[in-house]
Structures are given as C-alpha cells and as structure tokens.
C-alpha cells in the first residue's frame, strides 16, 4: 500500500507542475507573402513579440497557396492572414473568416474611409496600392501614357502580363475590354479579340512579383503591369524603370488583414491588427519602403511619397474593382485566356 | 613466288611490355600451320596482329603481295573463326553466313545462294533460318566456319576454335575443319594450346614460348627430333640427362653421366652427338630393368603408377629425377634398385643449354 501512495502522490505532483508551468510562449501564427521579410521582422515582428511575450511564426506563400491551405484546414492553423482584397473576398465567400470587433481595434478610426471596412464586417485594409504599368525607359520610347499603349507595335516581344491566375490578371481582361470600347463582363468576344491582338507583344505571363522583377533585370521584358509595391525592388534591380503616368487612371488594390474562424488567439489577433494599423508602425513601413500607409496620421515627404499611393486626392482618383463581379467572371475567363495566350 | 602469308621480324608490345620478339613466319599455299603454346606465349597476339586488331612496333606482314602492316582490319580480307564463335545473335544463321558477302556488296539473291551452298557443305542447311541462340556449340562453330569460308579469303585464321567444345566433339570437329580446309585448299593459321589437336591436323606446327618461335617443323619432326630442351619437354620428353662423351668409335659414342653411368649411343640412329650433350627421352624411352647385365643409368625407384599399358615409375638417378616405364609383368616396389635403359628410338640429342 505505501508503494501505491507514493506512486499516486508523485504522479499528481508531476501533473500539477506541468499545469503550473507558465503558458510558455503562446505561438502566434501570421500568414503573409514573405516579401520584404527582414524589414517586417524588424518593424513589426520583433516589437510585437516583446509586447505580447509570444512567439511569432509565419506561414508564407502567395495568395492562392495560403488561402488554399487555410481552406484545407477549414480555417484553422493561422491567427491572422494577410491577403489581397480579391482573395479575401473569396475567403469571405468560403466562410473562412470571422467578423472583427472594431472596439478592439481603435486605430481603425484613423484610417482612410476606403480602408476601414472594405469588405463589410470583416478585416480592414492595412495598405492601399495601385495597379498600373511599368516600363524600362532605356528601351521604351516614347514613354507609356495610356493602357492602350500596350498594343503598340514597337513593343513586340517586350511585355509580360500578370497571369490570369494572379490578382491583377483579370484586370488585364477588363482593360482589353476598355481598349475595344466594350464592357468585358458583357461582350466577351470583342474583349478577347482585343486581347488576342496583344499576343505578339507578350513574351510570357508571370505568376509572382519576384518573377516579374527577374524578367526585367535579365532584360527579357521592358514593359509590365504590376502593383506599386514592386516598384522599389524593381528600381533597385533596373534603375531606368519608370512608373507610367497613365492619363486613363490606375486601379486600386487594398490588402486586407483578417482573422480566420479557427484562430486560437483571437484577442491577440485583434491586438496585432491594431498594432500594425497604428500611425507609428504605418509610418515606419512607409518610410522603409514596405507598404503605402492608410493611416491618415502618417506624414510623408514628397520624396518618400513618390513611390506610394499617398494622400486623400491620389487615393480618391483610383478605380475600384467590384470583386463580387470580377471573381466569378475570372473563372469564366480562365479558359478563354489560356486559349488566347497558351496555344 | 609470293607466299600467301609472310610475317617478317615482327616485334609487338602491349603498353610497355614486349610480347613478341623479332618473330618471322611464312606459310606456303594451302598449308595449315598451327601456333602452339601455353597462355602468354604470344600465339594469340600473333593472330591478332595478322587480323589487324593490334599494331606491331616494328616489322611487316604481307598477304600475298599485299602489305597488311598499316591496313585497317576490315580491309584485310581474312576469314576468322573465333573461340566463342562470335555469331551475330540478332541475325539468322543464313544472315550470319552471308554477312561477309553483304559487306562485299554481293547482290541479295547471290548472297543467299552462296550462303545456302556453304551451309549445305557444313551440313546445316536445315538450320538456315534459326537464330544462333537455338544452336548447340558444335553447330555454332560450323556456322562460324561457313561464315569465314564463304567469302573465299586467301587466308583462314582459327583462334582456339574448339576450346569451348567437349572432348568428343573436339576430335570430330577438328577433322571436319581439316577436311574443309584441304578441300578448299585455303591457307590457314591455327592457334591452339592443345598439342594433340595441333599435331593431328597441321602441316607444320610452330611451338611458341615467351613471344618466340622455339621450333617450326612438321609434327613428326617435332615429335621425334625436338630442337631444344623447351620443345623436347613440350612434346613429352620428360627426362633430360646431361652426358659427356668419353670415347668415339666411328658412329658409336660412349658417354658418361654426372653420376658415373656409362651409355653407348649410335650417331647413325640419333644424329650428330657433340662432346657435351643432353639426352632427352620420353618415359617410354627409358625402360626399367632389373637385369644386372643391362646397360643404363642406375637409379632407385620411387612411386609406381599404373598406365594401363605399362607401369610408370618416378626414379632418382644420381641427383636427377626421371620418369621411366616398366612392363606390366614386373611391378616393382619403391626402393628397388634398377637400371634405366634408354631406347634410342625414343631419344633425342639436344645441345646443352
């Protein structure tokens, strides 16, 4: 009998010890692209880890990969997820996100209206970008001033477009429609006929921002359509690259940050979102060339603002995409796109 | 008159090793000459040189009046029969035989005719459409023979063609080869390590050792009159006894061995006998005798073995180890003292080395 007593006591005490062990560093999982990784580590991750006393881990990849993985796990495994607005729209429709509690994110009130609740009760936008055209001024003359310039004969074999499977891909179709003078949603035939005229100018279609930058730096292309966050690394690789001043205007892109339904640290997630939306962090991100600020309290010099979509006026001029219309249309356009470019 | 094959002062090396030393050999028209020796003696090397698979370091090879020395192998027009038959496994028997004709641009119908005729001669017409894999060893060798003969080459060469066949087949096949060769009248060079084979079918045999020809003669001459100790030993003269001449009486010579035994030999029977010489005998040429009056080498008998037709004894004769035969009527025990009597007909006189 004494032996049994000893055994019971020792097991009980071990259990107690284990239970009492400090909830050793909670793991906070962020899902994002991995682009600009070292800057994000310095500006966001390290300070946040100190704040929360938690351990931050990442899941990286492009929009598609990460949303796909989240869906395969039924919304679990990740605490916050960074996505571009078209993908977060898909995520919402798939029921993968939970609505946020604005009360836990007071910094939302400091954001531009466009960024506060871009997709209803779900996550806010943390940056606004533009989609436009870039070109290597050393090889393209005269400079590009309109979307229609893509069809110029002197640009034969010099363009890489975003692939239909990327965020910006479907917008190429919209612009092809514009070029033909029709709505891409309504007149597919004319739109894709217009797109077909573009084919001789296109070398390949890219899947990721890094791929596009590589294509420029190795001289394979001289013109592309891309989001403005790629401009800085692009200029670093090819200094003669210019952002085209388009008379017919650029397209707005809002990147959102959402909390999946399976998040294990919902309160911490709200804290995190509030943290990254704060003016101090947004200021650093903007000055370090990471993301354009949506917090109205961020002030940038003209030089700093040069590569960003910045300021009330600039933001107001952007064309917004209705993803509830674009996303379903994209699925229809997939095969037509492949038949245009992939035959 | 140009001889079919002349090998003139050939020296050959494998890398830095010298394998043939100043070798010369000529074959007469229609002659079958064997190169006989143990492995490493240079016989296969000689064949490969004539075939063109190896280049000599110096010397010349001529086929008739054609200088082969610098000619590539495929232009030499020699019929080769290989040890492993070297039949093309993907071609039928007929196609194998016709291969050489095809290379000589003989028309298809003519090729078939001649190939079939040759297959008929070697008795394999019924197998013309088979693949080599379906043939027995002997049949394969006959196809190989047919293939070499059908191109009517000025020279045939055989590279140990019968080594892979069983004993009975070897005897039958060598007779067939000889018959075909004589019927065709083709000059032939035959490489083998089998003494019986070489002696049975050759017009002349070259016994080779360490890249040299030790003796080139008819089989009979080699068998009875070896020119040196190596050849003597090769053809079965197991006993070599050094002797010194003590007296000469016309053709009769008295000679003494190192152990003191005296023998009388006749120059009429054995040819010229120099003052110091070696007496070579076969075991049969040294008879064991217990007759006290016998004239021969005194010896102590050792192990006795049974040959069927006689007994054979190991014997010690004054420091020499000899092998002698004795009659079945008188089996003798180890330790017996006897005289070993040389039989002049089975003896040969050799120069001392």
């Amino acid at each position: 009998m004494p032996r049994l007593k000893t055994l019971t006591l020792s097991s009980l005490s071990t259990l107690a010890l284990l239970a009492a062990a400090p909830a050793s560093a909670t793991t906070f999982t962020i899902s994002w692209w991995g682009f600009n990784g070292d800057k994000l580590q310095e500006i966001i991750v390290n300070p946040f880890q100190e704040m929360c006393g938690c351990e931050v881990v990442f899941e990286t990849g492009n929009n598609g990969d990460r949303l796909n993985r989240l869906q395969m796990r039924s919304g679990a495994g990740v605490d916050v997820i960074y996505l571009t607005d078209s993908y977060s729209q898909t995520g919402i429709e798939q029921g993968l996100f939970q609505p946020i509690d604005p009360a836990q994110i007071p910094n939302i009130s400091e954001l531009y209206e466009m960024a506060q609740a871009p997709q209803g009760e779900y996550g806010p936008a943390y940056t606004v970008g533009r989609i436009g055209l870039v070109y290597d001024s050393a090889r393209v003359n005269p400079p590009i001033t309109s979307w229609n310039d893509l069809w110029r004969e002197d640009l034969a074999g010099m363009i890489a477009l975003p692939n239909i499977t990327t965020t910006t891909g479907p917008m190429v179709v919209l612009k092809a429609g514009d070029h033909a003078g029709v709505s891409a949603y309504e007149d597919q035939d004319a739109t894709f006929a217009s797109l077909a005229e573009l084919v001789p100018n296109v070398v390949t279609n890219y899947n990721t921002g890094s791929e596009m930058i590589n294509l420029f730096s190795t001289g394979e292309i001289a013109v592309s359509m891309t989001q403005d966050f790629t401009l800085n690394p692009l200029r670093a690789a090819v200094p003669t690259v210019e952002w085209a001043a388009l008379e017919d205007g650029e397209i707005a892109v809002l990147n959102t940050i959402n909390i999946p339904t399976g998040s294990e640290n919902v309160e911490l997630a709200h804290q995190f979102i509030n943290f990254v939306l704060s003016a101090e962090i947004q200021q650093q991100l903007a000055e370090q060339g990471v993301d354009a600020p949506v917090n109205t309290n961020v002030t940038l010099t003209d030089e700093q603002a040069a590569s960003w979509t910045y300021g009330e006026e600039a933001i107001g001029r952007l064309q917004r995409i209705d993803y509830s219309q674009l996303n379903p249309a994209r699925n229809e356009w997939l095969d037509l796109w492949n038949e245009t470019f992939g035959m | 008159m140009t001889l079919p094959l002349t090998i003139e002062n050939i020296t050959a090396h494998y890398g830095s090793t010298k394998v043939l030393e100043d070798l010369s050999l000529s074959l007469a028209e229609g002659e079958l000459v064997s190169l006989l020796g143990a492995s490493g003696c240079g016989k296969t090397t000689t064949l490969r040189l004539v075939a063109g698979f190896l280049q000599p370091t110096s010397g010349a090879i001529r086929l008739g009046s054609k200088d082969l020395t610098r000619l590539p192998a495929h232009q030499r027009d020699i019929g080769l029969v290989f040890q492993n038959y070297a039949l093309f496994p993907h071609l039928t028997v007929r196609e194998n035989v016709a291969f050489g004709l095809k290379q000589r641009k003989v028309a298809s119908a003519e090729r078939t005719k001649r190939a079939d005729a040759m297959l008929d001669r070697v008795g394999l017409a019924h197998l013309a459409d088979r693949l080599p894999a379906a043939l027995s060893g002997g049949q394969k060798q006959r196809v190989a023979l047919a293939r070499a003969l059908v191109i009517e080459p000025p020279l045939l060469m055989f590279d140990e063609p019968l080594s892979n066949l069983d004993a009975k087949l070897r005897v039958d096949m060598r007779v067939e080869i000889r018959q075909l060769q004589r019927a065709n009248g083709t000059t032939a060079l035959y490489v083998t390590h089998d003494q019986e084979e070489a002696f049975s079918i050759s017009d002349r045999v070259a016994i080779m050792h360490q890249g040299r020809i030790m003796q080139l003669d008819t089989p009979e001459t080699l068998y009875q009159r070896p020119a040196n100790a190596f050849v003597a030993n090769f053809v079965g003269f197991e006993n070599i006894v050094p002797l010194s001449v003590t007296a000469r009486n016309g053709a009769e010579v008295t000679a003494r061995s190192d152990s003191g035994a005296e023998l009388t030999l006749s120059q009429d029977q054995l040819g010229a006998i120099p003052d110091r010489f070696l007496l070579a005998t076969r075991p049969d040429g040294l008879q064991v005798s217990t007759d006290p009056a016998a004239v021969g080498l005194p010896a102590e008998l050792g192990l006795r073995t049974y040959l069927g037709r006689a007994y054979q004894y190991q014997a010690q004769a004054g420091g020499l180890s000899l092998v002698a035969n004795g009659p079945l009527s008188q089996p003798l025990e180890t330790g017996t003292a006897a005289k070993l009597v040389p039989n002049p007909e089975q003896c040969a006189i050799l120069q001392p080395e």
Binding site: T165, G219, N338, M343 | F99
Partner: protein
C-alpha cells in the same frame, strides 16, 4: 506458424503501399469520374470535357511533342557519348562515366536555372551569337518550347548515357572483331551490329526519358512560362492556383494512362527485339 509469420512480416510493407500508394491514387482517379447520367458522356464526362477544350488538347499535344523531341535527341546524344565512353580504357571510362553522371547529383531545379541564365537575352548564348556576328540583337529564347527541350535534354542525357554505357559494354568485343574481319568498317559495324544489339537498352532509356520528360514540372515551369503550359504545369495550376481538384485529377489520370501505355508498349517491343536472350 511459419506461414503466419511470413504474412505478419509482409503486413507493414503491404499496409504502407496500400495507404501511401494504392488508396491515394485510386482516390484521385475516382475523383475524375462524373455522375452517371450527367451530360452526354455520363460517367466519363470530365474526360470528354478535357478533350473538348482546345487549350487542354494543345497542352497535351505540346507535352507529347516536347517529350518526343527530348527522347529522340537524348537517344542520339546519349548513344554517341556512350559509344565513345564504352570504348575507352577502364580508368578513363570510369572518370568519364562519373563526369557524365555528375549532373544527376544536383537537383533538377538548379540545372534548369542554369539554362535560365544561359538562354536569357543577356545570357551567354546570345552574347556569343552577337560576338560572332551571326545576329545583330539578342534573341528571345526563353519561354519557348525550344528552351524547355534544350534544358530537358541536358538533364536527361546523363541518365541515357548511364543506361547505354551498360548496354554497349555488354556487347561482346569479339562480335565487333568478327564484323570487322568480315569487311565491315567502323560505321558499318556500328549500324549493322552495335545498334541492333543495343536496341533493348535504347528502349529502356527511351522509356525512362520519355516518362520523366512527359511528367516534368520544374523545367517547363521555369523555362516554358505560362504561355507554354505542359501537363505538369497545367496540373499544378489546376490544383494549387485554381483549386479545380477534379480537373487536376483528370490531368493526373491522363498522365498516368499515357505513362502506363508507353511503358507497356515499349516493354513488349523490347521483349520481341531482344536477340541476346538465350
């Protein structure tokens, strides 16, 4: 008891194969079938849809074309290389074989990347061509089927050389000597003796290279780009980008069918053409 022990020992492996191979593959193929009664083709409607699409047929055809070119070119290049290597003395031969096979040690991606650098507009090939004066300005060689073919040949020739050196070494030397003695020069001997006897090995090599290039992903992804899709890259796009799992399963099933058919046909052919079987 011994029998039972035998069964028990085999169970872990059998389970592993069943769980990790049979069930997933069966599941994938199962995903490809539609519901009976749906559409004109019922249960095989998804396959009908695949073949009805211009683009998908083009992708399938392009994959055949590329794999075909790669196989033929690798055969020729591999055979010539193997022929030279097989005739070298032993020490040289070992060194040459190691050199030929060495690239296999680096990954496919690294080797494909090398071509990305070589074939670019600013790459070595263009620089060389401009230097020799053959062209005035750089050519765009990347993102074409040609680039994919070149890189795949480079990647698969070592495999082919390895297979063929073994095959050629197995051809007995005396056959070539016999051929020579009968009047066939080196070229004639090669075509009439060496080549026919190498055929079974050639077929093995061809099957290996064809299946590997037909199912390739990394090389077409890096060097072909999105305008030159092949079955491998299309499969990836369908599954990982478009989340069209049933569509991806159809692609996978078709690839599987092509490979199985190729292996079957080639194996039969090899058996019939093998004259050395005694």
């Amino acid at each position: 008891m011994k029998r039972l022990a035998g069964w028990m020992l085999a169970t872990p492996a059998t389970l592993a194969i069943a769980l990790l191979l049979v069930i997933p593959v069966a599941g994938t193929i199962g995903m490809t079938f539609g519901t009976p009664g749906q559409g004109d083709w019922g249960i095989v409607q998804p396959y009908a849809d695949f073949f009805a699409s211009n683009f998908r047929r083009r992708v399938l055809w392009r994959t055949f074309e590329v794999a075909g070119y790669v196989t033929v070119i690798s055969l020729a290049a591999g055979l010539v290389t193997a022929y030279v290597v097989a005739r070298c003395p032993a020490w040289t031969k070992s060194v040459l074989v190691v050199l030929a096979v060495f690239p296999l040690l680096t990954g496919v991606i690294v080797r494909s990347f090398a071509w990305l650098v070589l074939l670019g507009r600013e790459g070595m090939v263009n620089q060389f061509l401009i230097w020799t004066g053959l062209i005035d300005g750089p050519l765009t060689m990347l993102y074409t089927p040609g680039a994919v073919i070149v890189a795949m040949v480079y990647i698969f020739v070592p495999l082919m050389v390895l297979v063929l050196v073994g095959v050629l070494e197995n051809i007995p030397e005396d056959l070539l000597q016999a051929s020579s003695s009968l009047g066939a020069g080196p070229v004639a001997s090669f075509f009439q003796v060496t080549l026919p006897l190498a055929v079974p090995g050639l077929i093995v090599g061809a099957v290996l290279v064809f299946t590997a290039s037909f199912t390739s992903y990394a090389t077409p992804a890096l060097l072909g780009g999105t305008r030159q899709m092949m079955m491998g890259t299309f499969l990836h796009q369908s599954a990982m980008v478009r989340f069209d799992w049933p569509g991806a399963a159809v692609v996978a099933a078709i690839m599987l069918a092509v490979i199985l058919a190729t292996v079957l046909v080639m194996t039969r052919l090899a058996k019939r053409l093998n004259p050395m079987a005694t």
